[in-house]
């Protein structure tokens, strides 16, 4: 039970999965604009393609806390809005709509039909909606199919019927689509395999040659039942169906795609079949058959029959498939198919979904690697590409035919417009601080084949610099100002030096202005455009008010100077060195009027802030005053109570900078905040009550070691706070979650900053960095992770870092791929005709060859000015790298070597290999180069290697073995059979070794140096298909498994102590085995289902001064953290908040949150932060209700939620 655990963690996703398992096009907002909805893992995301900029923007992304298995969209007749149907693992069908006004998904219907979970016979795997929006079919992999009738009632609301069954036992479904039948009864087509015969036939023949059937299910709307209308045998290798337009648009029916064929089938038509052309080329196997893996149908506007298919093979080649119809005497198509044609179109990365937009774009949701947006140049109508027609090929799949070939070529019909970063699949990940910044970066290896990459992930906002110009001296401050109230853009840049002021004009060129009226022989404290056309310059000796060239000077009282100033459009406040505050307000005639009474402060004033004049008012009613006695005071500026103190707040250090500004809040309105930057580098944000001036709800963040300076800037029309410390930060309201976030900018450190607006750069910022003036913009808020990518050669397998130098070593291997030496050989042979240009593998992939491996080691330099791969070591002999480690051998005076484990002639399933090797490489040139020393033949490919007490520890099959480095090969020092099946991960601390088995979880072992023995002393209670492990402390280990769980295990304390006692080996050797395992069992401390498959887990620290967290990376591109709770109080609070959230914000797709997080093992010791963070998005009344239940204020809850994230993660 969770409540009894004494370890609690808070799980947060810092980067959501970037895979797209399905993408759909539709008009989800109810307007003409086309949008894309994508399912990625458990998230549903709405994307808005921007045809003008050629970009795809995320509008909304929501975690549904369930596995999204299929999505479909439909539109009721006469409506303009597409609804979304979700098939998840909830055992329920959910129909949702997008509400553009509130930017939320809204569930309209939720119908339960079966058990939850991913089960063989519970529908959810397949989903198809009738093109006219009258019905949908949801099917399971085996047996069950349910049809729901969709309609609308008198109130024009969407209704859903009770399900109609179309079950058939013993039938497996390979693919399911809805047929386009116009307004006839809805028909669904399924590609089915029947196993009943195979189950009855002991000779095994029926199982060897299963027959694939194309089956039509018709929903009779009149009788309200479903019948199996038609079925026919199709090519047994078929695996995919595509809908062919029907009704008035085409002949209806389906395309059935199998091995090297695309066949048109329909119940009342002949079959038409075309082969899939094979690639021609010197390195291609001429016998290899292709299959279609994805595709899209697109209807063109205009005449009937104007539609085409783009079908993609596993090489990524797109083929354009068209249907010709028989024409009647008038030349109109009759609906009878004449022929099917296929021709090569272009080659793009393998997609899971393709979406053709009306604006002429193609959105490609890649199966692995970056997603992309292409623009159509042409539709391949009149090119010289060979077209193959069904007339030349037999319709029988068994009949012989001559294969056809094509020559792949670079893109002709499409052009790449945008590549959208995706870390899917993420295979390994390390956290290190190599750039010398205060926070570490995440380095990971992603992608597959030639599109794999090494990525550096950094927390920050992308900044684009417009100008960086050198200045004659080093200015202390910079401002920009308009000349009149009505100007659209800034006219002057004012720079303040230690004893001078420089005024520059903004225009085509930036020039010095001499007639500005500014006093240029003194430094400046503040610049402001005042009233209609006045300008204010505040300098230590006075205030200069310039109106239409006339100058009014207000001199500072004798023997006193101005130390701080705050201004806005109507008000000016200055603080004198004596601690007095002088307040001015603009008169009706445009002149500054001094308020008679001066307020004296107890200490020296360090900073002032006025805040902008709220719209429709004459003045800002508050003044914030920061003094060096570590306080900030709020003074009233109301005429009745001018300069009266409203409230005071004590601080931990003297305030260096203040800023009053109103920002968007999570309640849907705006709130007035006082931002405070302290001398200690801490940044505080406090809510300033607009009526009473009370300061409440303070949140803080440490930004760096220098005093924090604050400036109000504007990004995308939103007021933001620019905070300058050892690096610049931007505080803003997240556009989607509406939460306030403080994110570092990926930019040089700035001394001073200000808003900047000109014709060329509407919304920028100007900053000072040493003697440089820099103008820059921030284009995208919300995406606060910056990625840098370096291309790699093959699918990466592991990532290791050089012990001292900032270099990484990746081992990479591709199965069924022609290795480079064979490629070169084939090319040399074919070069007699000399025309074959080698196509870049990044787009066309490597040539395939069965049971061949291509593998290499890459040396990556991520931090130099041009991050790149420095060197590559290819492995030959059909060896593929499987594991790697950097080991410093004590016998070599601690010199470090790169150790790479390989397997020869490996076949993955069932696991086979001929030999295993361990390669040893010496580092040269500070790790920039590798020298091969020797390799040692071993019995199995070693799946895990780690350094262990100056030697190498290798997991070879079930065996754990210690090696030392010899001259000719590695020398065996000790070994023992520890794991039940196959060692895949190893961790060590002291003499303790934690062994992860591929299936049977964790085993704790100990190395006894006295007797040179390796002994297992504790193992796991259940099977865990371990993928990665990390030691949390000496007793505990965290890990992830293939089913998407993250867990922490702890060894029993007594056994742990005993195992380390000197001389305990005798006891351990003779210890009684307990239930066929080690003598002791580990205890489960925490368990959590993440949905994504964890590929690596590490204990690390992510923010300055933050505590250690567990960071895990998932194959779908997820990066998540588990933050340990420090106090029991917090645990209780978040536990009750989580349970309230479960009740008040139930997951969109109807999955029970608690059951989802406890998918395989009941969730233990982990609180779902992703769910808790949805609190901010709740409606206000629900927030109030939960807050009431928890006996806290809404703000307090929101602060706690944001604190726990910012304290340890991004």
């Amino acid at each position: 039970m969770a409540t009894t655990s004494n370890m609690f963690l808070y799980s947060l996703t810092i980067q959501p999965p970037t895979t797209i398992s399905q993408a759909l096009l539709g008009q989800f907002s109810g307007t003409k604009e086309q949008q894309i909805i994508t399912a990625s893992g458990s998230r549903l995301t709405l994307l808005q393609p921007d045809p003008r900029q050629g970009k795809v923007n995320t509008i909304l992304s929501q975690d549904v806390f369930g596995i999204i298995r299929a999505i479909a969209s439909f539109r009721l007749a006469g409506s303009h809005k597409d609804y979304i149907i979700l098939a998840t693992d909830s055992g329920r069908i959910a129909i949702i709509e997008y509400l553009p006004k509130t930017n939320r998904f809204n569930r309209i219907h939720l119908e339960t039909f079966g058990k939850s979970g991913v089960r063989r016979v519970v529908p959810g795997q397949y989903l198809a909606a009738d093109p006219k929006g009258r019905a949908c079919l949801i099917a399971s992999l085996e047996k069950n199919k349910l049809v729901y009738v969709l309609n609308r009632n008198a109130q024009a609301e969407l209704t859903i019927s009770s399900p109609l069954e179309a079950h058939k036992p013993g039938v497996l479904v390979l693919s399911l689509v809805a047929l386009d039948v116009g307004y006839a009864n809805p028909v669904f087509a399924a590609l089915e395999l029947d196993y009943t015969e195979a189950d009855q036939d002991p000779t095994g023949q029926a199982g060897q040659e299963p027959e694939a059937q194309l089956v039509y299910y018709e929903l009779d709307l009149g009788l309200n039942h479903v019948v199996r209308k038609w079925s026919d045998a199709v090519d047994p290798t078929s695996s995919l169906l595509f809908q062919v337009p029907g009704g008035s648009d085409g002949p209806s029916g389906v395309l059935v795609c199998g091995e090297e064929n695309v066949t048109y089938r329909h119940s009342n038509q002949e079959a038409f079949r075309v082969p899939i052309p094979r690639r021609r080329g010197p390195t291609e196997d001429p016998q290899r058959k292709r299959t279609i893996v994805s595709g899209v149908m697109h209807k063109l506007k205009g005449s009937a029959g104007a539609f085409f298919f783009l079908l993609q093979t596993e090489d990524g080649d797109l083929f354009k498939v068209t249907l010709d119809m028989v024409e009647d005497d008038n030349g109109n198509p009759t609906g009878e198919v004449k022929r099917l044609k296929i021709k090569y179109f272009d080659t793009i990365p393998i997609a899971t979904s393709l979406c053709i937009l009306k604006s002429g774009f193609l959105f490609v949701a890649s199966e692995f690697g970056n997603h992309s947006l292409y623009q159509f140049e042409k539709l391949g109508d009149d090119d010289e590409e060979l077209e193959f027609s069904s007339e030349e090929f037999p319709t029988d799949s068994r009949a012989a035919y001559n294969p056809v070939y094509f020559q792949p070529r670079p893109l002709e019909n499409l052009t790449l417009v945008e590549s959208i970063d995706s870390m899917n699949p993420q295979i390994d990940c390390k956290v290190a601080n190599l750039t010398g910044e205060d926070a570490p970066q995440i380095y990971s290896v992603c992608g597959n084949g030639a599109r794999s990459s090494f990525r550096m992930l950094k927390h920050g906002l992308e900044v684009s610099e417009i100008v960086a110009s050198e200045l004659p001296g080093t200015p202390a401050a910079v401002w920009t100002t308009k000349l009149t109230k009505y100007d659209e853009y800034d006219a002057y840049i004012v720079l303040s030096f230690t004893n001078a002021t420089l005024v520059l004009s903004i225009g085509e060129t930036v020039e010095e202005v001499s007639d500005s009226g500014f006093l240029t022989t003194v430094p400046t404290l503040a610049v402001q455009q005042l009233g209609e056309e006045g300008l204010i310059q505040v300098h230590p000796k006075g205030i200069r008010h310039i109106v239409q060239g006339r100058v009014n000077e207000w001199p500072a009282p004798q023997h006193r100077s101005i130390v701080a100033a705050a201004t806005n459009e109507n008000q000016v406040v200055i603080a004198l060195s004596s601690g007095e505050i002088v307040y001015f307000e603009m008169d009706a005639d445009g002149s500054l009027a001094e308020y008679d009474e001066k307020k004296e402060m107890s200490g020296t004033v360090t900073s002032l802030s006025l805040g902008r004049v709220p719209e429709g008012l004459r003045r800002s009613s508050f003044l914030a005053v920061g003094c060096d006695d570590c306080t900030v005071r709020i003074l009233s500026l109301d005429p009745e109570s001018t300069l009266e103190m409203k409230s005071i707040q004590a601080l931990t250090a003297a305030p260096a900078s203040l800023s009053i500004m109103s920002m968007e809040d999570s309640f849907g309105g705006t709130t007035l905040y006082l931002h405070i930057g302290l001398h200690s580098g801490v940044y505080l944000r406090t809510v300033l009550d607009e009526v009473t001036g009370e300061l409440t709800d303070t949140r803080q963040k440490f930004l760096g070691p220098k005093p924090t300076k604050l400036f109000q800037v504007s990004v995308q029309g939103r007021p933001c706070v620019l905070a300058l410390n050892s690096r610049p930060w931007l505080g803003y309201t997240d556009p989607i979650t509406k939460g306030f976030v403080m994110t570092p900018l990926s930019y040089v450190d700035l001394e001073y900053g200000w808003n900047f607006s000109s014709e060329q750069c509407l919304e920028g910022m100007v900053g000072i960095h040493a003697n440089f003036l820099r103008i820059f913009t921030i284009e995208k808020l919300g995406d606060n992770m910056i990625q840098k990518s370096i291309p790699l050669t093959y699918t990466p397998k592991r990532l290791v870092k050089h012990p001292e130098q900032p270099y990484f070593y990746t081992i990479e291997a591709d199965n069924n791929t022609l290795p480079p030496e064979l490629r070169a050989q084939l090319l040399a042979q074919s070069n007699t005709n000399g025309d074959a240009a080698i196509l870049p593998p990044e787009e066309f992939g490597y040539p395939k060859a069965r049971n061949r491996w291509a593998s290499c080691i890459n040396i990556v330099d991520p931090v130099s000015d041009e991050p790149s791969v420095l060197n590559r070591v290819d492995l030959d002999n059909n060896e593929a790298a499987v594991s790697a480690a950097v080991v410093s051998f004590a016998s070599q005076d601690g010199e470090s070597f790169l150790i790479v484990g390989t397997g020869k002639d490996m076949i993955l399933s069932p696991r086979q290999f001929s030999e295993g090797y361990i390669h040893v490489y010496r580092f040269h040139d500070d790790g920039r180069d590798l020298e091969f020393i020797h390799k040692t033949k071993i019995e199995e490919p070693p799946m895990a290697l780690i350094p262990f007490q100056g030697r190498l520890l290798a997991g070879i099959g079930k065996t754990l073995r210690i090696y030392d480095l010899g001259l000719k090969q590695l020398l065996r020092k000790a070994q023992a059979e520890i794991a039940p099946q196959l060692i895949v991960s190893l961790q060590t601390q002291g003499n303790r070794i934690v062994v992860g088995d591929v299936q049977q979880g964790i085993t704790y072992a100990v190395y006894k140096p006295e007797s040179n023995k390796l002994l297992a002393w504790a193992d796991d209670t259940i099977n865990r298909w371990t993928t990665c492990t990390a030691m949390v402390d000496y007793e505990s280990v965290a890990g992830g498994d293939k089913f998407g769980n993250v867990w922490i295990l702890r060894a029993p304390e007594r056994a742990s102590q005993e195992s380390d006692e000197p001389g305990s080996e005798i006891q351990l050797v003779h210890a009684k085995s307990y239930l066929h395992g080690a003598p002791n069992r580990t205890a489960l401390m925490a368990h959590f289902y993440t949905q994504d498959l964890p590929t690596s887990i590490t204990k690390t620290n992510l923010v300055v001064g933050g505590q250690d967290v567990l960071l895990w990376s998932g194959i779908q591109g997820t990066v998540g953290v588990l933050i340990p709770f420090v106090s029991r109080e917090d645990v209780d609070f978040f536990q009750s908040l989580e349970s309230h959230m479960r009740a008040e914000d139930p997951p969109l797709a109807g999955r029970d949150h608690l059951i989802y997080r406890g998918y395989y093992v009941p969730v233990k010791g982990v609180i779902d932060g992703d769910l808790c963070e949805r609190f901010v998005l709740l409606a206000n009344d629900k927030k109030q209700m939960i807050a009431g239940e928890l006996d806290r204020s809404v703000r307090e809850i929101e602060r706690k939620i944001s604190d726990i994230r910012t304290r340890s993660a991004f």
Binding site: L193, A198, P210, L1093
Partner: protein, 96 residues
């Protein structure tokens, strides 16, 4: 009498469950039936969990769609053909 009726009802209930939930066992489940059923469950679970499918696709360097179809095809006869029933072998013996 009550007992007998109860027994009958239990029996009927079990049969209903067996029809509804494929793979529900009975006292005479053979090893082949059990294995076949477990294997089919496994393959369908792999197909239903996208990360797991990606994991396999990535290792074998094949597209996910192809691996998915392959897994479904494996469900037809995952544990080999069924053992010959006695009457079948006699018949088979006659024929050969």
């Amino acid at each position: 009498m009550m007992r007998l009726a109860d027994k009958l009802r239990t029996q009927q209930e079990l049969e209903r469950l067996q029809a509804k939930y494929i793979g529900t066992g009975h006292p005479d489940t053979t090893s082949w039936e059990w294995k076949t059923n477990i294997n089919r469950d496994t393959y369908s679970s792999i197909v239903g969990h996208p990360p797991l499918l990606s994991y396999i696709a990535l290792a074998s360097n094949e597209p996910v769609t192809k691996v998915r179809a392959e897994m479904i095809r494996k469900m037809i006869q995952p544990a080999g053909p069924p053992p010959a029933r006695e009457e079948d072998t006699i018949m088979g013996g006659h024929q050969s």
